[in-house]
């Protein structure tokens, strides 16, 4: 049985965002969108999380934090970059302190573009991530080629 995709717990991290996307992420929890329908929970703790959802780009200050949070999450896990800043650095790209998109630091599985990304898009991105999560779980369960497959899925990060 694959319970993983029925119960994705999300850790939302706000990197250097203008907070536009963050508000949209939180909008997903509201009665209008209600992501708990999919069993999604917004957890604050990386050790409980399955999906790392990041808004905003990486700067020199939060680089270590993002790495640390990613490190703290137990496998299988996926990363979703929400908004154009998280994908590439966006409008802040040229700033002196900006490193770039999330994928400069940790592997990203799903990119959700937009400025700001709309809740429907975000939910769609998460649902896409679920299938990747499921693949990773299956790979983890099948011991032999685990490592190789993981790398493969990471490289083949999808976008919506």
């Amino acid at each position: 049985m694959a319970f993983l995709k029925r119960s994705p717990w999300i850790l939302h991290y706000d990197a250097s965002s203008c907070n536009g996307c963050d508000i949209e992420v939180l909008a997903c929890l509201t009665p209008l969108y209600d992501v708990e329908r999919f069993g999604m929970i917004n957890t604050g703790n990386p050790k409980h999380a399955d999906i790392l959802l990041i808004t905003g780009g990486i700067n020199t200050q939060n680089r270590e934090v993002v790495e640390n949070i990613y490190e703290q999450m137990p496998e299988p896990k996926v990363v979703i970059a929400v908004g154009i800043c998280a994908a590439t650095g966006g409008i802040f790209r040229e700033c002196y302190n900006i490193v770039g998109g999330i994928d400069k630091v940790i592997p990203v599985d799903v990119y959700v573009p937009g400025c700001a990304a709309r809740p429907e898009q975000i939910i769609d991105g998460v649902v896409t991530a679920l299938s990747i999560l499921e693949k990773k779980r299956a790979a983890m369960a099948g011991t032999a080629q685990t490592r190789e497959e993981e790398q493969h899925t990471e490289q083949a990060g999808e976008s919506t």
Partner: protein
């Protein structure tokens, strides 16, 4: 009778021998061998007398009594001398009053001061003797090595170890005498010896603080002593109906109204000795003494003399308002001392407060004194003595190793001193967790209080008291089990700690739970049956459940084998900052900072300053009430 005399006289012999032993190795041999003899003697006592009920012995009286009075006078002079030397006139005054009362007693009632039977033994005495003989002598063995290390750590303290071990063994003799005496004059004599022993041992380090605290203990205990003599005078004056100085006759006396007044006075002496509020401060002050002293005198044996006498007199207290009042003193002490323990981080003070609290609980049971409560009280005495001795000795050993007795500094002891931490863990579990002993007794006490008129007051107090108890023990336990990283193992050192006594006492804590049905059926139930005609029993099913839980607890650690290597290890979550396993993290400005964890002490709510005075006032009022109520009953 030979065994009884052996247990009283042999320690005195050893004490005198130890006055001439200088080298630690020789002393260790002497103490260990005599501990074996004393422990063996008390076990023989168990085998020989356990099934016989109360047995009385005439024992030579004339000469012995004379010697005792002489020693008492000598001790009074000694107190006067010490009082003069350190300008403590209150001690002088009390010693003088007490001596005057004894002289008055001897002069006026010399004809009545002979009990038919001076010594006796029954199941309660056997239990006490086992505690003294086994726990007491183990502590003595521990003390030899401990004191050696102690002087190594405290070069400023004058080495008076010969005196130290002399007093320790005299004290053991006095404790045996105390629990075997049927003659109240004898009992009083041994009572005073324990007071003086405590005084000498608290003042061992001769610092200003130690001397001050020693005198405080002395003054408070002398106060109890004065009450004791007055009680004896009243008993002797009303010998015809009250039974005079023969303990068994006093307890069997039909004239309960007359006996109640001396009983309340002796109960008061018990309250001072057991350091119930408002007299708790002497026991807290006594914590300046070396740890074996705290373990021996101030938790497992001497303070138990106070509650022993209360339990002895509880048939007299039962059903009286005076007894109820004494019980309330105990109950209030229990809840207040437990609450204050929350605010303490000094391990010895936590242990001291917890001791006071548990003595309070025992006093509460003894004061109300129904058969079930006496059963619970005796269980409490046993379990408390074993677990508390372990905790004190453990704290002493830890202090020598890590240089602190602060609970916060014991963080990660499971890594630094694994064996010690496990023993402390068992000791603490013994103090408050099911299925360990103290919990059994607390549970029995609640079930017993339900059936007492106005027992609801006690239930309410017990309910709150046990809640706070869980809090302060569990947070200490938590500190011990925290798995800290990159810390050295410091279990072994220059001085080898005296592990053997610790292992044995740890074993006893567990054995006491496993064997408790046997202890109850062989010793406690017959005792209660003999006095009340009915006895308390724990339901078979519940005993089985307790044993099941204990077995589970013993098996569960095996599960550690399951977890080995199976999991990935990650450092603790530090809000996203990169942290090392010992909680150093990258702070702002490129500095590495250290996160530390500290327990809650809730001083604002449970502080000494906030609770001690109200508790003391309430208890004082209750003690005065017990006197008035005893008077009214007349």
């Amino acid at each position: 009778m030979q065994t009884l005399l052996f247990l009283i006289l042999f320690p005195i012999l050893v004490a005198c021998l130890l006055l001439f032993v200088k080298r630690t190795t020789v002393r260790y041999a002497v103490v260990a061998l005599s501990a074996l003899a004393i422990g063996g003697g008390s076990i023989y006592l168990l085998v020989r007398y356990a099934l016989e009920g109360a047995v009385y012995f005439a024992a030579p009286s004339e000469a012995a009594s004379l010697v005792m009075v002489a020693i008492e006078m000598g001790l009074a002079l000694f107190i006067v001398y010490m009082g003069a030397k350190f300008r403590n006139y209150l001690a002088i005054a009390l010693a003088a009053i007490q001596a005057a009362l004894v002289v008055y007693l001897e002069g006026t009632f010399s004809g009545s001061l002979h009990a038919v039977n001076n010594l006796f033994i029954d199941q309660l005495s056997i239990i006490m003797a086992l505690i003294i003989g086994i726990i007491g002598s183990l502590i003595a063995v521990y003390a030899v090595r401990y004191m050696e290390t102690y002087h190594h750590h405290h070069p400023e303290v004058r080495d008076r170890q010969k005196m130290f071990f002399f007093v320790i063994f005299v004290f053991l003799a006095a404790m045996f005498g105390l629990v075997f005496s049927n003659n109240l004059m004898w009992l009083f004599f041994f009572w005073e010896i324990t007071t003086i022993s405590s005084f000498l041992l608290i003042g061992y380090s001769e610092t200003e603080e130690a001397t001050r605290n020693a005198f405080r203990a002395l003054v408070m205990n002398l106060l109890g002593g004065v009450a004791f003599v007055v009680a004896i005078i009243i008993l002797v004056a009303t010998e015809a109906t009250s039974g005079g100085i023969d303990l068994a006759q006093v307890l069997a006396s039909g004239d309960t109204a007359i006996v109640l007044i001396p009983a309340v006075l002796i109960g008061f002496a018990g309250i001072t000795k057991a350091a119930l509020m408002p007299f708790s401060s002497w026991l807290l002050g006594a914590m300046v003494a070396p740890t074996p002293v705290s373990a021996l005198l101030h938790s497992s044996t001497m303070v138990k003399a106070g509650v022993y006498i209360l339990v002895r007199f509880s048939p007299v207290f039962a059903g009286t308002f005076a007894g109820f009042s004494i019980g309330l003193v105990g109950a209030v002490t229990f809840v207040v001392a437990s609450a204050i323990a929350i605010s303490q981080s000094n391990a010895k003070l936590v242990l001291a407060y917890s001791t006071i609290a548990n003595l309070g609980l025992i006093a509460a049971c003894a004061g109300v004194g129904t058969y079930m409560l006496v059963w619970a009280a005796i269980l409490l005495i046993i379990f408390h003595a074993v677990a508390k001795a372990l905790l004190f000795l453990g704290t002493g050993a830890i202090e020598h190793r890590i240089g602190s007795r602060d609970i916060e500094d014991m963080e990660g002891l499971i890594v630094r001193m694994p064996r010690m931490a496990v023993m402390m863990f068992i000791g603490i579990a013994g103090m408050f967790l099911a299925p360990f002993g103290m919990l059994i007794s607390k549970w029995a006490a609640i079930e017993a209080f339900v059936q007492v008129p106005f027992g609801l007051v006690f239930i309410a107090i017990l309910a709150y008291g046990s809640a706070v108890t869980v809090f302060f023990w569990a947070k200490w336990m938590g500190k011990l089990v925290a798995v800290t990283r990159h810390q050295e193992k410091v279990e072994k050192g220059f001085f080898e700690e005296p592990w053997a006594p610790l292992y044995i006492i740890t074993g006893l804590v567990i054995a006491a739970v496993l064997l408790f049905p046997v202890i109850s059926s062989i010793l406690i139930e017959p005792y209660v049956l003999a006095i009340y005609g009915v006895t308390a029993l724990m339901a078979q099913a519940n005993v089985a459940i307790m044993l099941l839980m204990m077995t589970l607890l013993l098996i569960l650690p095996v599960s550690f084998l399951l977890f080995r290597r199976s999991a990935k290890s990650l450092p603790a979550y530090m809000g996203g900052r990169t942290a090392t396993p010992d909680l150093h993290f990258a702070g702002s400005l490129g500095l590495t900072r250290e996160a530390q964890t500290r327990n809650y002490y809730l001083t604002e709510y449970f502080g000494e300053a906030k609770l001690f005075l109200p508790g003391a006032v309430v208890c004082t009022v209750l003690i005065l009430a017990s006197w008035v109520l005893a008077g009214v009953a007349l």
